[in-house]
């Protein structure tokens, strides 16, 4: 049955990638309402689900996440070298901590919060260093990180059980 997941995973990954942009545009009025800006991270969620719910570690997630990160940099921002490193980094970290975790809803939720923080902080630091943006740390934490975690957790809670069912059924 492993071949089905091998096809579903990349398709879902790119669907999530483009949905991130489309939904950001459609709901821009509520997602980017001043002073808060909440960033959708469907790609990150799809990757984390894949790392933790794929029991036999047979998906080439690291390579696919690097490719998705490359497309993200390429198509959305035009600044290379940010997401293309951030997403594989997350996959690597998740694989490192996976053996120590007792997998259930709450632990996965905590892992997701930590990973959201890592990705947002990484992107913020990188853009700050290359002078793409000027913003201070307090503004970042309060106005970007907070709302981003809130919105993405809500999506996570809604999608957790359907996603688990998907992986259980396919395997």
């Amino acid at each position: 049955m492993k071949s089905r997941l091998r096809i579903i995973f990349p398709i879902g990954l790119f669907l999530a990638l483009f949905l991130d942009g489309s939904l950001s545009n459609v709901f821009a009025g509520s997602l980017f309402k001043y002073p808060y800006s909440s960033v959708l991270h469907l790609v990150l969620m799809w990757i984390i689900f894949a790392v933790f719910l794929d029991d036999r570690d047979e998906l080439p997630i690291l390579a696919w996440s690097a490719f998705a990160g490359l497309v993200f940099d390429w198509f959305y921002t035009g600044v290379f070298g940010v997401y293309v490193v951030a997403l594989p980094l997350i996959v690597y970290l998740c694989r490192q901590i996976k053996p120590w975790l007792d997998l259930n809803f709450l632990t996965l939720l905590m892992v997701y919060i930590i990973n959201l923080t890592i990705v947002e902080a990484f992107v913020y630091t990188w853009y700050l260093m290359s002078k793409v943006i000027t913003s201070n740390l307090a503004d970042f934490a309060v106005y970007t990180l907070g709302p981003t975690i809130a919105v993405n957790l809500a999506i996570f809670v809604i999608l957790y059980y359907p996603m688990r069912q998907l992986y259980l059924r396919v395997e």
Binding site: S22, Y76, W126, K131, V132, T144
Partner: protein, 281 residues
């Protein structure tokens, strides 16, 4: 627990960081150049744009369906309000037509064929918005094949929203006017007061707390009032003259008390964009 940072892993991590930072520096440098992105990058963007169209289509369809329903609910009130405006509009339209015809004739007599206010419009759909809090960018569905060039101004139905920063063959990226990054290009604009006097200046920033466009370093003694209209001045570059930007919201002294700063309320809603127009001079 295995050793987290063995020597080999440390070296690999440092190399990856250096490559990533190098890539970023190079692409920022390329972005700030006046020419379009390299061919490889254009090709990748075109492919991604083509796939994105497939995903964006149902999502945008859903959005237009919901807006249709809410439009339907407001129809009665809106209709009554609009009926009052229609009569005045017809008159204004005839006036404008006569003025345009006269203007054309006079220009012909002066042998002034091209003026700053002439432009042709390319209408494009908005494909996606960058899902990031740092880059206020849109991807629109027209590119170099439709005549879009870098640095052209982009408008929504009601006013100026930004400028083209990257052109591919079939799509292009638009940086919104609310982008405060230091590398953003600034528009040349002018304020016209009720007496017909103008004050020239450039957009110097965006005040995120009120969603106002800022025009700083204004030293002119011409009196500007709240509500005065602001349009692009057409000076310096690709922006045509007379694109509507917004109205003056307030005027205040700058931090040093030497010049004043005009805050402008943008006419366009930057968070509700489905169709935009690229103006080419």
């Amino acid at each position: 627990m295995q050793k987290f940072f063995s020597n080999r892993k440390l070296v690999i991590a440092i190399i990856i960081l250096i490559i990533s930072f190098g890539l970023m520096s190079v692409s920022v440098a390329i972005r700030n150049r006046k020419s379009t992105p390299p061919l490889v990058q254009q090709f990748g963007n075109d492919v991604a744009g083509a796939i994105d169209r497939v995903v964006a289509l149902p999502v945008n369809g859903l959005q237009s369906a919901t807006t249709s329903v809410s439009d339907l609910l407001n129809t009665y009130q809106e209709n009554q309000k609009l009926k009052k405006q229609v009569d005045q509009l017809a008159q204004a339209k005839v006036n404008a037509q006569t003025a345009t015809a006269e203007n054309k004739q006079l220009r012909k007599e002066l042998k002034l064929n091209q003026s700053l206010s002439d432009y042709t419009a390319v209408t494009a759909n908005v494909l996606t918005r960058t899902p990031s809090s740092w880059m206020n960018q849109l991807v629109i569905s027209k590119g170099a094949t439709a005549g879009v060039k870098k640095n052209m101004p982009v408008m929504s139905q009601s006013g100026l929203i930004g400028r083209v920063v990257e052109v591919n063959q079939t799509n292009s990226k638009v940086e919104l006017i609310s982008n405060t990054s230091s590398s953003a290009d600034k528009f040349a604009i002018q304020v016209t007061n009720s007496a017909g006097k103008t004050v020239n200046g450039i957009v110097t920033g965006f005040d995120k707390s009120d969603n106002y466009i800022q025009m700083g370093s204004v030293t002119s003694s011409v009196k500007i009032k709240k509500g005065d209209k602001v349009v692009t001045s057409g000076l310096g570059g690709l922006t045509p003259k007379g694109l509507y930007v917004g109205t003056v919201a307030k005027i205040k002294q700058d931090d040093y008390g030497l010049a004043s700063e005009v805050e402008i309320k943008p006419a366009a809603d930057l968070t509700d964009l489905t169709v935009v127009t690229v103006a080419e001079q």
